[in-house]
């Protein structure tokens, strides 16, 4: 076998209730692998936040996950509007989410800061009008 388990998910852009399907599916698989529970939790939280971001801001996209014995690498890719000011977006409480989204309890401006908090490595490639690629790595810290 190859040394990673590769999973691919399409993230629907118009349905809030489906956000979390990809992270839920990854969580289930990591549990069957007997993965470290702290790493599972961090993957699930970071990925869910990123999925929600894709739904709120970018009309969905896709998600590629590679599971290695010692780490999980995740790419979340969208063709949305891009992030004009990444530093600002990384500030806690900063949000451009519309009111209808906030009413649902999302858009508190904790998305990207939380993702950073729960992952060991995070990289944002974003181009205005083209889209955003978010690369995440969660290491197993025994």
């Amino acid at each position: 076998m190859s040394n990673a388990i590769h999973l691919h998910y399409d993230v629907s852009g118009d349905d809030f209730t489906r956000a979390g399907e990809a992270s839920g599916s990854v969580k289930k698989r990591l549990k069957s692998l007997g993965y470290n529970s702290d790493a599972i939790r961090r993957v699930a939280i970071a990925m869910y936040e990123a999925e929600i971001n894709m739904v709120i801001h970018a009309n969905g996209g896709y998600c590629d996950v590679d599971i290695y014995p010692d780490r999980v690498e995740i790419l979340l890719s969208d063709s949305g509007p891009g992030i004009p000011d990444v530093d600002k977006a990384m500030q806690e409480g900063f949000s451009t989410a519309p009111d209808n989204v906030r009413n649902l309890g999302f858009g508190a401006g904790m998305g990207l800061p939380n993702i950073k908090k729960y992952t060991d490595h995070m990289k944002i490639d974003t181009t205005i009008g083209v889209g955003t690629n978010l690369y995440l790595t969660v290491n197993v810290n025994e």
């Binding site: 190859s2 388990i5 069957s32 692998l33 007997g34 599972i40 939790r41 939280i45 014995p69």
Partner: protein, 424 residues
């Protein structure tokens, strides 16, 4: 692997191998082989869903009966508050409690009394910030077992306070010893139970080394005798010692109401409880201090060993609570130490993982994904596994083969038929 005791059992003769229980088991603990259901012991949490859904009554819960109390010189019944919701036109709990004495018990100690102490202790521990939030109730044993096998990150959130049954049994036993002067082994303490999970909990407790309870008798098992005895009572003794908080524990939300605050969440029904646990694990649920989860819809009144519709029972309990004081049981100094768990709740990692070697587990999962992609994805259960994915898992574990799938088998037969047709 350790052996597991379960109160849920299969009556093989009655099982016709249909897929009702297979599809409804929340932990995918059932497989059908050779036309009969089999329970995967290590995965079963004794929630009783299979008993509820089996149209052939092939699943039953093992519980004690009234004969068992004859082994003891002195017997205490500890009735669950859900018992009070089982009777039409009941306006006084004392009639039920005196009825229990009439069918053979020497003494009664209501579980709702212990519940009031647990409510007070929970409030105190939360106020003193001594617990990891959100605090998850430890009262429903099916939920505790579920967390133990599926939710490693939540084990520390389960409140380490004894469930009301265990505390009631402990106190009742102590009081009976003091009152009678008998030896502990001469005293029988029996829980009058709405559900099989509590039967299991008494046999193999999560919280203590050995339960103070000698057994659990299903409500449905003593119901005919008890109602008869209740009808024939000459005088009704004044035995009830609980307030509305204690009795409220019988229904979903009752334990939470005993928190006397707003920052709580109460969910019932095993599927709903699982969804809440998933969300708690992912930290989606915030601003909640206390989480009450009941495996049965409606709470304990929905247990499979009850006789009445849970919502009817709930309505009756509301009525019974109406004129009761808030709480009739309060903590004394030192009580709290007696109420804590003797053991830690540790995650049982073996149950759902494919292998304890991550490399081997990954190899197995890789094969599983490929097998799964090739299965029809109907999740029909005809192969004997609950879903196509579960079947793929069973195949890589060597417990099933691809042709167990009737759709795959049909394809293969079709291809043989086509080949034969071409050669003729």
């Amino acid at each position: 692997m350790s052996t597991y005791f379960h109160s849920v059992e299969l009556e093989v003769d009655k099982c016709c191998g249909c897929t009702n229980c297979l599809k409804r088991c929340p932990t995918e603990a059932i497989r059908i082989h050779n036309g009969k259901a089999h329970i995967l012991s290590e995965r079963c949490i004794d929630c009783g869903e299979c008993i509820r859904v089996c149209p052939h009554h092939a699943k039953k819960a093992h519980s004690s009966n009234l004969e068992d109390i004859k082994k003891f010189k002195y017997n205490v019944a500890i009735p669950a508050p859900s018992l009070y919701g089982q009777f039409n036109n009941l306006d006084n709990v004392n009639i039920v409690l005196t009825g229990l004495k009439a069918i053979g018990f020497n003494e009664i100690f209501e579980v709702s009394r212990a519940a009031e102490l647990i409510s007070e202790a929970t409030r105190k521990l939360i106020k003193e910030n001594k617990l990891k939030k959100p605090v998850i109730s430890s009262a429903c044993p099916a939920i505790v077992r579920l967390i133990k096998i599926r939710f490693p990150e939540l084990c520390d959130n389960v409140i380490p306070l004894l469930a009301p049954i265990e505390l009631a049994a402990k106190v009742a036993r102590k009081e009976a010893i003091e009152r009678t002067g008998l030896k502990p082994e001469e005293i029988g303490v029996f829980f009058i139970s709405p559900c099989p999970a509590k039967v299991t909990e008494i046999h193999t407790p999560n919280s203590v080394e050995k339960s103070a309870c000698n057994g659990a008798i299903g409500i449905s098992r003593i119901y005919p005798e008890l109602t008869k005895a209740m009808d024939r009572l000459d005088n009704v003794e004044n035995l009830a010692r609980s307030g509305l908080i204690g009795i409220g524990w019988a229904t979903s939300g009752g334990e939470s109401a005993g928190m006397l605050g707003e920052k709580y969440l109460a969910a019932d029904g095993i599927e709903n409880a699982i969804r809440i646990l998933e969300e708690l694990e992912d930290e989606h649920i915030r601003d909640v201090d206390f989480v009450e989860l009941n495996a049965c819809s409606g709470g304990c009144v929905g247990g499979v060993l009850t006789v009445e519709n849970p919502y009817v029972a709930q309505a009756r309990i509301q009525k019974l609570r109406k004129y009761l004081p808030v709480s009739m049981n309060h903590l004394n100094d030192g009580d709290l130490d007696e109420m804590m768990w003797e053991k830690e709740l540790n995650f049982d990692a073996d149950i759902f993982r494919l292998s304890d070697d991550i490399f081997k587990a990954m190899e197995m999962m890789d094969r599983m994904e490929k097998i799964c992609a090739d299965l029809p994805g109907l999740d029909c259960g005809s192969c004997g596994s609950p879903t196509c994915r579960a079947m793929a898992e069973d195949i890589v574990k060597g417990k099933a083969k691809e042709t167990d799938c009737i759709h795959k088998l049909k394809e293969q037969i079709q291809s043989v038929y086509d080949q034969l047709k071409n050669t003729i």
